[in-house]
Symmetry: C2
Subunit: 330 residues, 2 copies
């Protein structure tokens, strides 16, 4: 059950080079130098990381990378200076000339913060063999924005919390969680608004505690949220079985029949069939990777299939078709 | 296409016996006498009409007969005096001691007013061989309520008008029709409200015109309405194909997946898939008798299956199951 609720883990390290100003104050020539320094440092051991410049990408491609969590919206905006290196398995993404010179990001499935931290650490070590980091004995890693100073680390998990959401407990509960010094935000929503009942929990501070301590804290808090979500699911199953069964089957009926669908509606319905399958109430979607489907049907990921920005109506038709094919196994 | 829009035809004749007061003023003994006189008159030729007394029936059974259009709500209220005779093929129903002593009702599928009139006429002749009708040379058949005096005939057709309904033309259009001297009302709705986009058209007056003239008038007006409905369907197909396709498939998805459903929602969705099938946009329900399903899922028809009044929630669950089984051919 845990791995269905904790969908992905992510660890990001912010690093800067001692011999350069922060990206915002750099010249085009310096941007290029930093990019090639990082590229060479990483690829010297034949790692096959693929370098992509922001200037090579269309808006649809950049937004699609954001929807896949491979780059940040801030990097996408650096159309002249930005670049990123991606490992062949797409688990490591190194953003260059975003807010900081280097941002190492590692991704893992389920609750995998420790694995991500180990992997980030390894990549960090490889880079450090070749480049000189800006590091202060008192403060730790120097970053462009003071909130990242210290470990320069942000550890986050993405949680799927449909039961807490449909019982209207989520806002109050996550507000309580945010009081423990973690940041809570929605995924794929404007600002902190969540769609598909997906939420992201990450550490607020990066200073005054070791990476291991921060990761342990996020892990602990996440497990508490998972427990609360699970208890709410059990309660719902016991007390609202009929309503839920009807809701889940209706969601499935719409997903497998509609001829056009907005991403908002699709996310809501997919979240319901995911919950139904995990609760054993609606087994039709068992074994289907609903979260991957949620990513796949984001607006720019759909446009990216045809290689250009599709009008909304065409996107909604293609989205409905992708969902039908996926759920009906065609 | 016509037979999908004109669903059923009905002709009703009001008749009274000369030797009795109107039912409302009769004694229990006289009620019985009228019932047995009509029963004997009709069954003397071994017609196998089944006699049923209102006092023998539960509320659920009476309401189920109303939902099947075999008796009127007014007869169901005559719990001490009322009875009806039903032909083996259920095409002829003779209500006794309703508002009038005798009401002969004949039912046919599609546009069949002439056939219904001929059948009613035949049954009327058989009765007249044995009983004495109250008939006035000037006025015609004498009836309890003056609006039925004259021919005592009401001819009606039930129309399925989804295209006129979803394009919001129906109210204005049917108001225009009502100015031609016909009565328009919804079927299965409170008062004149329609559910499932079903409407009934019948003659307003029963005096001053022959039965044949009245039937010709209702037939002509119905064919005009059918033509307007068909033209609207063509317009919709040409201009709103995508929206309609999506609406129809969504309706089908809900009907074949929901685990509970109110009759209001079911009627609306069934009307859509019926339209979709007839327009060739959603062929999944082709050959299914959607109108019969609409009748089958009325509240009392569902309760009647288990023989007692079911709580609303149980009814909604059973309704969803009946619809799924019917549409998925299980």
């Amino acid at each position: 059950m845990e791995s269905n609720i904790v969908i992905t883990s992510r660890v990001r390290l912010a690093r800067n080079l001692i011999n350069y100003k922060f990206p915002v104050n750099m010249s085009p020539d310096e941007w290029s130098k930093v990019i090639s320094e990082v590229d060479q440092a990483l690829n010297k051991e034949n790692k096959n990381y693929r370098l992509t410049y922001m200037r090579e990408l269309s808006d649809v491609q950049k937004n699609s990378l954001i929807e896949n969590h491979l780059i940040s919206p801030a990097l996408a905006e650096k159309k002249d200076s930005g670049a990123f290196l991606l490992s062949p398995d797409e688990k490591v993404s190194i953003m260059i000339n975003e807010e900081d010179h280097i941002r190492i990001q590692t991704l893992g499935e389920g609750m995998a913060l420790k694995e991500c931290w180990n992997l980030s650490n390894k990549v960090d070590d490889i880079l450090e063999e070749s480049v000189d980091y800006a590091f202060d004995k008192e403060l730790g890693y120097v970053t462009s924005c003071p909130t990242n100073i210290g470990t320069g680390m942000r550890a986050s998990v993405m949680l799927h919390l449909p039961a807490l959401s449909i019982t209207n407990q989520i806002d109050k509960f996550l507000y309580g969680v945010s009081q423990l010094g973690v940041a809570v935000r929605g995924v794929y929503g404007e600002g902190t608004k969540s769609i598909g009942h997906l939420y992201q929990i990450s550490n607020q501070g990066t200073l005054g505690a070791s990476e291991e301590t921060l990761i342990e804290k996020i892990t602990q808090i996440s497990m508490q949220i998972v427990e609360k979500e699970n208890r709410t699911r059990e309660h719902l199953k016991k007390n609202n079985y009929d309503e839920l069964e009807d809701d889940f089957y209706r969601a499935y009926g719409l997903l497998t029949n509609a001829r056009k669908m907005t991403s908002n509606e699709a996310m809501k319905l997919l979240s319901l069939v995911k919950l139904g399958s995990e609760m054993g109430i609606t087994p039709m979607v068992k074994g289907k990777d609903i979260y991957n489907l949620m990513v796949k049907i984001q607006p720019n990921n759909i446009s990216n299939i045809v290689g250009r920005e599709l009008p909304k109506n065409d996107r909604n038709k293609m989205r409905a078709e992708i969902i039908r094919n996926e759920l009906l196994n065609k």
